[in-house]
């Protein structure tokens, strides 16, 4: 398949474009030159990259919800509500799951059924089906930047349509939108397809239009050890930068232990900078913190507790933006009111913490060191596996379990590592699978797990994992079956 971590030539890119734009009739609506003109005329305050850069500069944490419904008019109402009532700083458009699997026919049925039912039958906005006309309508109806958020292994047409519509940010990546979101899509193909998306963003960038790209940090959202998600984020950041992307937001999903979360965010930013510098990429780097991405408690008051703790951690970690959950999380896609409630609780906490910094304690410093060392082990091995090529190395690494994402659905993921919480509630490795992590790091890890098991008078076993998966939704961080 000719995968290499190398910037695509314009010829190759334009060659591929022809094919991409034929995937669904709305592809016709994309005219790159016209799109460049359109984007150039957009007001600054609708540019995602610029808004993030400003926030980073001002040491502010921006607030972004998730939201998307089937029909254009309803989606506009929804986004306006989140902007005006919810006070969002940045708007999303969550794309429906059929689009994510490129099943545009099913989207079409979903649109029709939604019209009939009078409510959205799709779990997101089918942007490809609505085409450039529909997507521009959305952009023009709001006052702040818009981003596509999805989970699409092959997002080429989606990216073409949304960028041409003035949506100046695109979430995703060849790993993060494949392994947690797909069953059989190969990494060769998804990385290639995301090189296309990155190349597209890079193309706009070359025309002087800032486009933001955001690899999806939380992966499966479920007990992902920070070294895994940081390693993947850095790889996807590097792959994007190679294709000419200049504005990158790297993300992380809250694990719940403050020390670990603050350290993970620090480690991510520092280490990404180091790699960008090493490879000579000139990138404007920002960060995103995702409020707890695993199973939520059903009780709304408890959900508010989880949301607020996420907000506090985002602020203390100094994230450039935070992605907000709602009190409906455990049950279903939130109403706009519930979504707004999540945003208001989050805003309140962000504002309470606006003036506060958490000074680096020695625990945080040690954890940063630990995470960076683990990530280094992983990235060294990935590069090795690819004989120096990051893209090739990534494919091989997943094959050999050098990279491995817990609980992922993909058959191309080894699925050998198991995470569990340690005695302080930090996420560690119950099993490292084939991860090439050095022995001293493993010993440190195992000791912390052993401490927890002893405290709970039980063995270090798979039951810890099961208990930890259910823990937050049952009202605690560390699953302790003994506590009932």
């Amino acid at each position: 398949m000719n995968l290499k971590n190398e910037k695509w030539s314009e010829e190759r890119f334009f060659e591929m474009r022809k094919e991409v734009l034929c995937q669904w009739p709305t592809g016709e609506q994309v005219d790159l030159d016209e799109a460049v003109q359109y984007l150039k005329k957009l007001p600054e305050e609708k540019n995602f990259a610029k808004r993030l850069a400003k926030a980073k500069n001002d040491h502010k944490t921006l607030l972004q919800p998730r939201a998307g419904v089937a029909l254009v008019e309803d989606h506009i109402d929804l986004l306006r509500y989140l902007q005006n009532e919810g006070g969002a700083d940045l708007l999303p458009t969550t794309i429906d799951s059929y689009t994510r699997q490129n099943r545009y026919n099913e989207c079409e049925s979903g649109i029709i059924e939604s019209r009939k039912a009078g409510r959205s039958m799709l779990n997101g906005f089918p942007a490809v089906n609505h085409g450039v006309y529909g997507c521009r309508k959305v952009l023009e109806a709001v006052n702040i930047p818009l981003q596509a958020r999805h989970g699409t292994p092959d997002a080429r047409l989606l990216s073409e349509i949304t960028h041409a519509s003035g949506w100046t940010s695109n979430e995703g990546g060849g790993i993060s939108y494949n392994i947690p979101y797909a069953k059989s899509a190969t990494l060769e193909k998804s990385i290639l397809d995301w090189q296309y998306c990155d190349r597209l963003a890079g193309y706009y960038q070359e025309q002087g239009i800032d486009i933001n790209r955001e690899p999806f940090g939380p992966l499966t959202g479920t007990l992902v050890p920070p070294s895994i998600s940081n390693a993947v984020a850095i790889i996807e950041g590097l792959l994007a930068a190679e294709q000419g992307v200049k504005h990158i937001t790297l993300g992380y999903g809250q694990c719940g232990n403050l020390t670990q979360d603050v350290a993970a965010m620090s480690a991510l930013e520092e280490q990404a900078h180091e790699y960008f510098r090493f490879y000579g990429y000139d990138v404007q780097l920002t960060t995103v913190f995702h409020q707890w991405m695993g199973g939520f408690p059903e009780d709304e008051a408890k959900a508010f507790g989880v949301i607020s703790w996420g907000a506090a951690t985002a602020a203390l970690a100094g994230a450039t933006k935070v992605i907000v959950k709602s009190p409906h999380e455990a049950l279903g896609i939130p109403t706009r009111e519930a979504n707004t409630q999540g945003m208001k609780a989050t805003r309140q906490v962000l504002n309470l913490l606006n003036e506060q910094k958490l000074s680096m304690s020695k625990d945080v410093v040690a954890e940063v060191q630990l995470i960076k060392s683990e990530v280094k082990c992983l990235l060294d091995a990935v590069l090795d596996a690819g004989d120096g090529d990051l893209a090739v190395g990534t494919v091989k690494a997943f094959k050999n379990g050098i990279l491995d994402i817990p609980f992922a659905p993909s058959v191309h993921n080894a699925g050998k590592i198991l995470p569990a919480r340690d005695v302080n509630g930090a996420v560690r490795y119950l099993s490292y699978g084939n991860l090439p992590v050095s022995d001293n790091l493993k010993e440190y890890n195992d000791d912390l797990l052993q401490q927890r098991a002893s405290k709970e008078h039980r063995d270090v076993s798979f039951q810890l994992v099961v208990d930890d998966i259910f823990a937050v939704s049952l009202g605690r961080l560390v699953g302790n079956s003994a506590l009932g």
Partner: protein, 151 residues
């Protein structure tokens, strides 16, 4: 002889955590589990059930499209000659927080034998399976004890 369960996540749904947990719980409970994983079509479910002679089909849908994805599954089972298979469905079945009784009714009407709300503990399903499988045998005129057991 242990009861055979076909389980998976239907449609374009990729939520794999609950699927892995259910697999683990059902297997621990002694069932023979055939897990077809996420992103499975109605045809995948039916083929797996026929191939393995399954006693029950446990469909998960978390992502909200459950209503669209499950429509017609019962008919296809009938057409394929497995009309007696137990049909369970569970997860976050519809888009948004809707009245649960109403949701349940809609899925019963689609031909499911049991419909589970979000947050259902695996043990609930295990209890129900143990009871329903026995019952199914009775209805089919088979032996009432010891034939199917989860343990």
């Amino acid at each position: 002889m242990n009861a055979v369960l076909v389980m998976g996540v239907i449609g374009a749904d990729c939520h794999s955590v609950g699927n892995k947990i259910l697999d683990h719980a059902f297997s621990e409970a002694g069932f023979k589990v055939v897990n077809i994983g996420v992103l499975s079509s109605q045809e995948d479910f039916i083929n797996a059930a026929i191939e393995t002679g399954a006693d029950a089909m446990l469909v998960s849908s978390l992502y909200g499209h459950g209503e669209m994805d499950c429509r017609g599954l019962k008919d296809k089972c009938v057409e394929s000659g497995i009309e007696d298979i137990l049909l369970y469905v569970g997860g976050n079945l519809v888009v948004g927080k809707q009245d649960w009784e109403d949701v349940k009714r809609r899925f019963f009407e689609m031909g499911f034998d049991r419909v589970y709300p979000p947050g259902t503990h695996p043990d609930t399903a295990i209890d129900d399976l143990t009871r329903d499988l026995r019952l199914n045998i009775v209805l089919k005129g088979g032996r009432t004890d010891g034939v199917y057991s989860a343990y």
